[in-house]
């Protein structure tokens, strides 16, 4: 027995966007196709479309964020929605109010959509199960579990450059264990049929049974980079250095950092990606992050179109995503 996927409503329509695990290949492709349409809007002088006019989107960030919050804010504005930024890091939840009570207050303010970031894995699932049915929930990152819009914007970036996924060799480097981005990327890549997904990092940063996700563990970064089409760096959080998982940022760079020499082992047209913020000289050399193979800033730009696509799909204002059997 396991709980039903809370992302779909009784008709089988995608109502929340929580986790890429519950979505199939066609759905992911449809999101990417819808995002293509919005990418065109973002290139125009007048960037607004009226799809969500009159709707209110609330950004509920229980963890600090600048990039993701800003990208969601822009996406909502370009869809003509009203946007409410609620800073919950320093708010009532710290005064002992339960998460559910906080949500009910925001529901009473008659918002239509919650974009939620929370430090606990599974928080977005929990919220999706408990909000009133009229509200749509988008997961802006939950603990170490999932960051599905980041996963989709990464796929969007890869597809724009490489087209087909089936021949691709993708390498994820570094802190897989604590990374929600890594989990969402792996889930999407496996669903979209990527040729090979490799992970490499010190064993302290590789989670138990990671192969069960459909990836291969490589022993060294040099071996992992051979024939790579896409290289994804992941942020190494400073606190990892305090908890005996990595001795120092210097040693991390020497053993797993993406240096120009190592980059030369990959295919010459390999893409360099990173969800940001990057630690230069820790995960990646500055010259590589700024080099011509880097698409790190494109990822940020595409993040808006992808989030516009997700927001309009779950609010039913773009083609619905319906699964066969609810």
């Amino acid at each position: 027995m396991s709980l039903a996927d809370p992302q779909f409503n009784l008709l089988g329509d995608l109502h929340h966007f929580i986790d890429l695990d519950g979505l199939d290949r066609d759905m992911l492709t449809q999101i990417l196709d819808t995002a293509e349409g919005f990418a065109g809007v973002n290139d125009r002088t007048i960037k607004n479309v009226p799809l969500l006019r009159g709707k209110t989107v609330a950004n509920l960030f229980f963890e600090n964020s600048t990039r993701t919050r800003t990208a969601f804010e822009l996406a909502a504005k370009r869809l003509s929605a009203d946007i409410l930024n609620v800073d919950l890091v320093t708010s009532s939840t710290n005064k002992g109010e339960s998460l559910l009570d906080t949500l009910q207050v925001l529901e009473a303010l008659q918002c239509d959509m919650f974009v939620v970031r929370h430090g606990d894995s599974g928080a977005a699932h929990f919220i999706a199960r408990h909000v009133s049915p009229s509200i749509n929930v988008i997961n802006g990152g939950d603990g170490q579990h999932s960051h599905p819009t980041q996963g989709m914007l990464d796929m969007f970036t890869i597809r724009r450059h490489k087209g087909d996924f089936s021949q691709l060799c993708v390498v994820l480097i570094g802190d897989i264990k604590h990374s929600r981005v890594a989990r969402s990327d792996i889930s999407a890549l496996v669903k979209l049929g990527a040729g090979e997904v490799r992970v490499v990092g010190p064993r302290t940063l590789i989670p138990a049974d990671v192969e069960s996700l459909g990836v291969t563990i490589y022993p060294t970064i040099e071996k992992a980079l051979v024939d790579a089409d896409v290289i994804m760096g992941l942020r190494l959080q400073k606190e990892r250095m305090l908890t005996a998982t990595v001795p120092s940022s210097g040693e991390f760079y020497r053993t797993y950092g993406l240096s120009p020499e190592r980059l030369a082992l990959a295919k010459p047209d390999a893409l360099i990606m990173h969800p940001g913020p990057t630690n230069r000289g820790v995960e990646i050399a500055g010259s590589v992050a700024d080099g011509k193979q880097s698409v790190i800033l494109e990822q940020v730009t595409y993040g808006i179109a992808v989030r516009m696509a997700v927001m309009s799909i779950i609010m039913g204002n773009a083609s619905n995503l319906r699964r066969e059997k609810a």
Binding site: L99, G122, G143, Q144, R183
Partner: protein, 347 residues
């Protein structure tokens, strides 16, 4: 069916745990006088104080003793009370229950023991035997007055599910308890390894991004307990074994005749970490559900006698305890409602 306060009760045509034949049980003044083959149908006759129960559809089971349960009183009565839980235990077939010392305050003083015993007596549910807190306040430093608590009716001492990182304190506690032949009921869980975890460190935790509890969190702590048991000859009972490797270690310890026994939590004979899919917090357990291989080893350990008992690990909660994202929910499953049918599978 309710047994009245008659001096004479006859239960007819009832099956026994070890026999499918119909039996008759005769009870006089609250004491079972006879269990025999089915007799001619009794009738109440003139003696109106005789109660006759026709029990064709029932099974008679000896009153069970539960080695580990939480009654939540004193201090956590929003979750359960001695009255509610001791009655639930009795209804589930447990006539005697050892209750965990992780109450507020913990069971580290004679006053708390007396309070529990008085409330249990008033409730008229299962007999309640409080387990003494091994250290004062379960803080892991100062020993509780174990001999006094033993004299007050605590059959054993335990550190509940709270880690005891101070090996000096543990060593000393085991030596001290051994002086009074007081058994310790200990859960094997390292104080640091997997301390922030809420699920077995395996494929499911990896997919859900939940902080993991590796098997080594159990086995490292178990090795420490077993070595101290060897050194102190303290009577040791390992509570709620969770992994295949732990079963192996206990089997080996028994082969060299260490004074060690162990039990398994009822739910651990049935569930694995697969149950956590979708963040189902009703399966959030402090002693984690591990893999199918581990579960099968627990079943086998029970069959071959390495595991001596099943405990309910009953942990009642109020509704709010589960209304949070998975890692923030309070661990523990209530067990009494379905305990008996699940236990009978293993009889």
């Amino acid at each position: 069916v309710k047994i009245n306060n008659s001096d004479h009760v006859i239960i007819q045509d009832v099956k026994l745990l070890d026999s499918d034949d119909a039996h008759t049980i005769t009870i006089r003044n609250g004491i079972i006088k006879d269990i025999g083959a089915a007799q001619e149908s009794h009738s109440a006759g003139n003696n109106s104080t005789t109660q006759i129960i026709h029990a064709e559809k029932f099974l008679a089971v000896p009153g069970l003793c539960d080695l580990y349960s939480r009654l939540r009183e004193p201090g956590l009565t929003r979750k359960g009370t001695i009255e509610s839980e001791s009655l639930a235990a009795l209804e589930a077939g447990f006539t005697r229950v050892l209750c965990s010392p992780d109450t507020l305050p913990s069971i580290d003083s004679i006053a708390t023991v007396q309070l529990i015993r008085q409330r249990a007596e008033a409730a008229q549910g299962a007999d309640i035997l409080p387990i003494a807190a091994l250290t004062s306040g379960l803080e892991g430093e100062q020993l509780s007055e174990l001999a006094t608590l033993q004299a007050a009716g605590c059959p054993a001492a335990s550190h509940a599910d709270i880690a005891l990182p101070n090996t000096n304190a543990l060593f000393s506690a085991m030596e001290y308890a051994a002086s009074f032949s007081m058994p310790l009921i200990m859960t094997a869980r390292d104080s640091q390894l997997g301390a922030d975890g809420c699920a077995h460190a395996g494929a499911m935790a990896t997919r859900l991004g939940l902080p993991g509890i590796p098997v080594a969190a159990e086995t490292v702590a178990l090795a420490r307990l077993l070595e101290l048991c060897r050194e102190t000859a303290c009577r040791l009972h390992i509570s709620r074994v969770s992994s295949a490797r732990a079963v192996e270690m206990i089997k080996a310890a028994k082969q060299v005749a260490l004074p060690v026994t162990c039990d398994v939590g009822l739910h651990h004979l049935y569930f694995t970490d697969d149950q956590l899919d979708g963040y189902d917090s009703s399966f959030h357990s402090r002693v984690p559900f591990r893999t199918k291989t581990d579960r099968d080893a627990l079943r086998e350990g029970l069959r071959d006698g390495t595991i001596d008992a099943i405990c309910s690990d009953h942990s009642p909660h109020e509704r709010d305890a589960a209304l949070a994202p998975f890692p923030a929910t309070e661990p523990g499953l209530a067990a009494y409602k379905w305990a008996m049918p699940l236990i009978l599978q293993y009889y």
